[in-house]
Symmetry: C2
Subunit: 594 residues, 2 copies
């Protein structure tokens, strides 16, 4: 099972009210039926063409013989089915051949692929994201040259940022771009950790490359963005000669093995043609359009790999008899299924709270994308900007924790490749790293995002939170949870304010030293809020719901909310203490003392 | 590097005073020189014969062709060097050809092998442990038949407990033993997850098998322990005919791949000869001798895999330039090494506190073994019994957390197999599972160990803790840490008392429902105490220490203690609340609500 369909519907149509989006002019042709149809189609493709080779792609990772890369044939087939269903450009406008689908619905179906097979899904996500950048910032000529192939599945896309000596510190990147008389550029440099940087799935690969034009300043302001395809494309749209982009080698990951991770040499023979996107020096801002989408995508992927592991371990626990309750002294009775053991319930409930909470967070972020793009809602844009580090990192941390618990539920079976959860754990370990590590996200959050426009983003968040709290007050079952949450919210708000003051007082390094702790605290507060929102909605619809099944599902939502607030927010107090005292124990540690 | 040698010496000779052991008659032939010699030899063998194939054994895991298992030849060679150095039976008495080495020193050198190559080391540990059981409980004939080969490296040993349908619930195991007229037994049944159950490293394998003799009662009281060698051994000590123990298949683990994990069929053809150890029905108590040693061994292995990852990430952080401090706005300055980033320091300091704390815990437990065995100290035996679940589980949890952080320090490089830390992470994930999961350890601790002999074990622990606190009070630098620790200790003690009362009131299932939380809390309290003990010793020797290097090392100890108490004990308060209120959120969760 890729997701609990009941949960996905609950989130889409009750918590995040996807139907409301169809009132916007941009989405007016849609209704719940068209949304469901797309999701159903995606579900079928994910189950039929992605899930079946998830293990195989892990066992038989892509090979490089010095000339070409080979992947198992199932990947190419899956990619084709994905493209043929119109899923690569589903969010594009009708006039461009798209379905004009909301980001919320797009996220819902994307998640199914991440659950089924994150490695193969990786190629599709990268292509859509790269195409979006070209669509948003490319010239008409660039669009007409590259987008048709990217959207119909003949081409794939990559984002080539990282360099071996530079890592995440993009301001230092050294790839050079030299302008030619015809307006094109010659690129020269090496990029590393480029996902999908080479493969045999598509006939062409469109690399988006960050490079520094000759004479451009040091730092991020000197960075430009270029298109460097593997094969040049002729005027008539046909593939032309091979561009000077060479695969230097594959990197061999712990998980996510099906997606190639590459070292690429651009212009080793001085012949790598690159096409400037937009203006020189604005490369990073264009790339961040893609990065922000990619960060939501990473969060969603992490949530869904976590979700998959949760479902696998739940299924196992329901069917595995072993042991008895501690109070049962004799071995005469039959063993109980392990789902009856309190500690197994804890591990399942924790997983449920992490992964359903993470999915809710990513869908919420996607809804904000819709509000921003289709309704021009600036508040939504600001809130999304604030929350992006959280959306990227909370699911990456807690989805992985969920996978760790899934292994533990299965015990010895969880640790062997004969069962699926160990792969989830290996795959998911990538997510706290790529598209900006936790450390980078936390600096972005505490050093920048919180204070944009005078801290308005946080105000917008708190307004929404308070609205939820008010709604929850009407349900007796939720009152103790609201009280407990309010207490933590107060601590969180005061902590934030104090950190802001200390930044204003110029204590930049001291305040940001423990930013990772702040990121974790804020992640828990945001997800706990979403759990209250879910619990509130569950209470609202409980009476109307006809079936016993539905009632059980809604009761589970309430219980998971209870768990998350009682068990996971306990740390907020001690985290706040460390943060507000600007605890310097870590920062004070000197290299020689280790 | 396998360990920080300065740290190992500090722990052995200053914190745990290994020299004091030489005052015991059993160890009187030893002195620090002999201890150091053994450790030095072990270090050399670990570096020369174990570390070099750690990655290779992971990449080329053992293969089963339906007839025989093949491992890479380096494993056999390493095993031989280990045996030839007398390390398999180093703890045995001189009269048996051993070195009569203290458990403390044995743990110190064993840890080096776990750091270098946990998979290959696994074979040696299993053999020593199985031999110990035969030595302790076997008949003279059994000893003379099996021990020489196990001690000189011709034979290996296993512990065959788990069965496919039974898992950890040993009381339900179904393997049968039928007594024959000659006093031997015929065994019949299937065992699963048997480490080293087959291999091509040694000429024979001595399986210790739990089985139920015909007519024996259900439950744990009906379990007996048998020796079932792969090859029978003739009177003259030579290998005889093949016993009916068949490899049904290999299991394919996520990590620890070099150690075979097997499914074994005993007596498929009705011809599996087993020799009863000791008396019928006492099998579990014999096996627990081995299990308790194995549990300390698991803790030690987890600590040392964590330690290895820590050292690798420390080395990387010292040499990898990337980025600048947040307050540095321009890119004109040179990038700093990442060890200068506060968040990287945090990840390194956390690792240091986990792994050095875990190693201290395991060495402490080993010293208790010495006090128990060589000094007949019943208090030490009781304290060891109490702490065994903690010794097994704290390093398994926190060593793994350390490995997770090691990956994060390396970023993208941490996630690829071109660097060593991802293997540490995969290897270490086994440790929270085997030899009793966290859940099982926590039930053992809270349901049984704490209350043995009227709770005397805990009293013994608290007496030691209070002594440390008193010593620490004499150092100004430690006073705030002592105050903070005392506050948590008070909470911990009250929590324990309340749980004891609630067990006495018959609320067994309710009290044990959250036992995993208690296990974590107690683990942190015990390790924080050991950190104070280390910090106290560091303060004591600081003035006498001559070199700048030593002073830096001792300052680092103090800082890690500070970190552990300030950053890791914060949760104790909220954990205590959940425990004392007998929080039932997890236990109340019904299967249908998931």
């Amino acid at each position: 099972m890729l997701v609990n369909q009941k949960d996905l519907n609950f989130l889409l149509y009750q918590v995040f009210n996807a139907n409301e989006l169809t009132e916007l002019p941009h989405y007016q042709e849609h209704d719940q039926t068209t949304f469901d149809e797309v999701i159903k189609t995606a579900h079928r493709i994910a189950e039929d063409y992605f899930a079946p080779h998830n293990r195989k792609a892990d066992e038989r990772e892509p090979q490089f013989n010095g000339e070409t890369v080979s992947t198992i044939p199932e990947v190419k087939e899956a990619y084709k089915h994905y493209a043929d269903a119109g899923l690569l450009n589903a969010r594009q406008e009708y006039q461009d051949g798209g379905m004009q689908l909301p980001a919320l619905v797009h996220a819902a179906y994307s998640g199914l692929f991440a659950s089924a097979n994150p490695s193969t899904a990786g190629y599709t996500f990268l292509t859509s994201a790269a195409a979006n950048v070209i669509h948003a910032f490319g010239s008409e000529e660039q669009k007409s040259r590259f987008l048709p192939g990217m959207w119909d599945g003949r081409f794939a896309g990559t984002m080539a940022l990282t360099e071996p000596d530079v890592g995440s510190s993009l301001g230092d990147l050294a790839t050079k771009a030299t302008k030619q008389s015809d307006g094109t550029y010659k690129l020269k440099g090496q990029k590393m950790f480029i996902s999908g940087g080479d493969q045999d799935i598509t006939e062409n690969i469109v690399h988006l490359v960050l490079a520094r034009a000759e004479g451009a300043p040091q730092g991020v302001k000197g960075i430009s963005l270029f298109i460097a395809p593997k094969f040049l494309i002729n005027e008539n749209g046909e593939l032309g000669e091979r561009n000077d982009v060479q695969l230097a080698g594959l990197l061999h990951k712990m998980g996510y093995r099906g997606t190639t991770s590459t070292v690429l040499n651009f212009g080793e023979q001085g012949k790598c043609t690159g096409y400037l996107i937009g203006e020189e020096g604005k490369g990073l801002s264009y790339m961040f359009k893609m990065m922000n989408e990619a960060r939501i995508g990473v969060g969603l992927g992490a949530a869904m790999i976590g979700y998959r592991g949760y479902l696998e371990s739940l299924e196992y626990a329901k069917n595995r008899p072993q042991g008895r309750h501690p109070s049962t002294k004799s071995n005469d009775s039959k063993p109980i299924n392990i789902i009856e053991h309190a500690d197994v319930k804890r591990m399942l409930l924790a997983q449920k709270s992490y992964v359903e909470g993470s999915l809710a967070l990513c869908l919420f972020a996607s809804r904000l994308v819709d509000e921003q793009e289709a309704a021009n809602n600036e508040d939504s844009a600001l809130l999304l900007d604030l929350l992006t580090p959280v959306v990227k990192s909370f699911p990456s941390s807690y989805g992985l924790k969920a996978n760790e618990l899934a292994i533990q539920v299965l015990g010895g079976s969880g640790y062997i490749r004969e069962y699926p959860v160990e792969q989830c754990y290996r795959d998911n370990r990538l997510n706290p790293i790529h598209e900006g590590t936790h450390g980078i996200q936390s600096l972005d959050l505490l050093g920048r995002k919180l204070w944009m426009k005078g801290g308005k983003g946080l105000q917008l968040l708190l307004t929404r939170v308070n609205k939820t709290l008010k709604n929850c007050q009407t349900h007796d079952a939720l009152k103790p949870l609201v009280d407990s949450y309010r207490n933590k919210l107060d601590i969180f708000s005061k902590t934030t304010m104090q950190l802001g003051q200390s930044l204003q007082a110029g204590k930049v390094d001291e305040t940001l030293a423990n930013s990772a702790l702040y990121l974790d605290m804020m992640g828990k507060m945001v997800v706990a809020w979403l759990w209250l929102e879910m619990a509130n909605k569950a209470q609202e619809v409980f009476e109307e719901s006809a079936s016993e099944d539905d009632k059980n599902f809604l009761t589970g939502k309430l219980q998971a909310c209870k768990y998350f607030i009682e068990w996971e927010l306990g740390e907020v107090h001690s985290q706040s203490t460390l943060l507000t005292e600007l605890n310097s124990t870590c920062a004070d540690m000197e290299e020689a003392w280790f």
